[in-house]
C-alpha cells in the first residue's frame, strides 16, 4: 500500500508534479488519474489495439515518472505527457509493423468512451471511430490532438516533432477525409445536428 501524503487530494497539478518528482507515488497516482483517459485515447488512436494501447499507456506513465525531473514546466504538463505517449505508441507501431503486421486489427474492438452516449449520439461516436480508423495512424493521432484535446498547431509540433507546415497539411487532408467518411456514414439528420 502506498503512503498517502497529507492533503494529496487537495493538491493542484503543479504541486502534484513537484511531489511526484521527489518520488511521491501517491501524487503520481493522482496525475495518472487525471490523464489516463487522455493518454489511453492518444495511444489507441495510433495502435488501434486495446492490449497494445494499454501497454503503451503504461510505458508512457512509467517513462513520465522516471523523467519528471527533466520536466521544466516550459510547456503544459499534458503536452509533455502527450509527447511521450505519441513517441511511445509510434515506436511500438513501428516495432509491430516489421514482424507481425498481420496481427494488426486483432483485438481492436473500439473500447467504450469515457462518457458513453446512446442513441443518435452513439451512432455519431461509432461513425467517428470508423472514420478515424480509416486515417493513417499518425494522422488520426494529430486529428485527436487538434479536435479532442484542443491542442494548437504549435503544441502538436512540440508533441510530434513534425514541422508546422506538415501538421497543417495533415490536418487539412484528414479533415477532408473525415468529412467524406462521416457524410457517407451518418444519416442526413445526424449530420444536420452536427452542423447546427
Amino acid at each position: 500500500m502506498q503512503k498517502r501524503p497529507i492533503g494529496v487530494a487537495h493538491v493542484n497539478e503543479t504541486q502534484a508534479i513537484a511531489l511526484a518528482a521527489t518520488g511521491d507515488q501517491a501524487a503520481f497516482a493522482w496525475l495518472i488519474g487525471q490523464y489516463r483517459h487522455m493518454v489511453h485515447t492518444a495511444s489507441y488512436r495510433i495502435l488501434r489495439n486495446q492490449e497494445e494501447a494499454e501497454e503503451a499507456s503504461q510505458d508512457t506513465f512509467v517513462k513520465a515518472y522516471q523523467n519528471l525531473g527533466s520536466y521544466q514546466g516550459g510547456s503544459k504538463f499534458s503536452t509533455w505527457l502527450f509527447s511521450i505517449a505519441y513517441r511511445t505508441a509510434i515506436s511500438q507501431l513501428r516495432k509491430r509493423r516489421t514482424p507481425t503486421a498481420a496481427l494488426e486489427g486483432l483485438g481492436s474492438l473500439e473500447p467504450t468512451t469515457h462518457d458513453p452516449d446512446t442513441g443518435e449520439a452513439g451512432d455519431r461516436s461509432a461513425a467517428l471511430s470508423k472514420a478515424l480508423s480509416q486515417l493513417p495512424a499518425e494522422d488520426a493521432a494529430i486529428v485527436n490532438f487538434f479536435y479532442m484535446e484542443e491542442l494548437s498547431v504549435e503544441e502538436i509540433v512540440t508533441v510530434t516533432g513534425l514541422s508546422a507546415s506538415n501538421v497543417k497539411v495533415k490536418l487539412h487532408r484528414s479533415r477532408k477525409r473525415l468529412l467524406e467518411i462521416l457524410q457517407h456514414e451518418l444519416k442526413e439528420e445526424a449530420w444536420t445536428l452536427i452542423e447546427d
Binding site: A20, Q58, Q66, P116, R175
Partner: protein
C-alpha cells in the same frame, strides 16, 4: 471553403470539434493505475538529472587556461611559434615507450588487463544468452 456540404474550414473545424467532444475520450482499461504503480514501485524513484562531477566553473577555467595557452603559443613573432611549442613541450616529463615496455611488471599488468577484459566480455555475453542481464527497455 470545403467542398463538403458547403462547409468552410472554420465551420468544418467547429463541427468536428463538437463531434469529438460529444463522443468523448476512450475509457482507459480498468486497473491501469494499479499496474502502472506496480511498475513504478520497481523503478523506485524518478531519475533526476545528476549534477556534473566537475563544476561548470572548473570547465570555464580550463577553457580559459587552454585559450591562454594557445594565445601564448601564437603570440609574438609568427616565425617563433615552433620554437615556443618546442620550449613548452621540452618542459613536460617524458615517458619513452621502450623504457616502459622493458619492465616485466608493466608487461604483466597489461596482460592481466587484457585477460580481465576478455573474461568480462565473455561473462556479459553468457548472461545475455541466458537472459540474466535483460533490462526492460523503456
Amino acid at each position: 471553403m470545403d467542398a463538403h456540404r458547403g462547409l468552410n474550414d472554420q465551420d468544418a473545424d467547429k463541427a468536428l470539434r463538437d463531434l469529438f467532444r460529444s463522443s468523448g475520450r476512450l475509457t482507459a482499461p480498468e486497473g491501469l493505475d494499479a499496474r502502472v504503480l506496480q511498475r513504478i514501485a520497481l523503478v523506485n524513484r524518478p531519475i533526476t538529472p545528476a549534477a556534473g562531477l566537475i563544476p561548470t566553473w572548473v570547465w570555464i577555467a580550463l577553457a580559459g587556461g587552454f585559450a591562454a595557452f594557445v594565445a601564448y603559443i601564437y603570440s609574438g613573432a609568427t616565425t617563433d611559434t615552433v620554437g615556443r611549442i618546442e620550449r613548452v613541450l621540452s618542459g613536460l616529463p617524458r615517458f619513452p615507450i621502450s623504457d616502459l615496455l622493458s619492465s616485466p611488471w608493466v608487461l604483466l599488468t597489461a596482460c592481466s588487463a587484457v585477460a580481465f577484459l576478455a573474461m568480462d566480455s565473455l561473462l556479459e555475453r553468457t548472461d545475455r544468452m541466458h537472459g540474466l542481464n535483460k533490462a526492460r527497455p523503456l
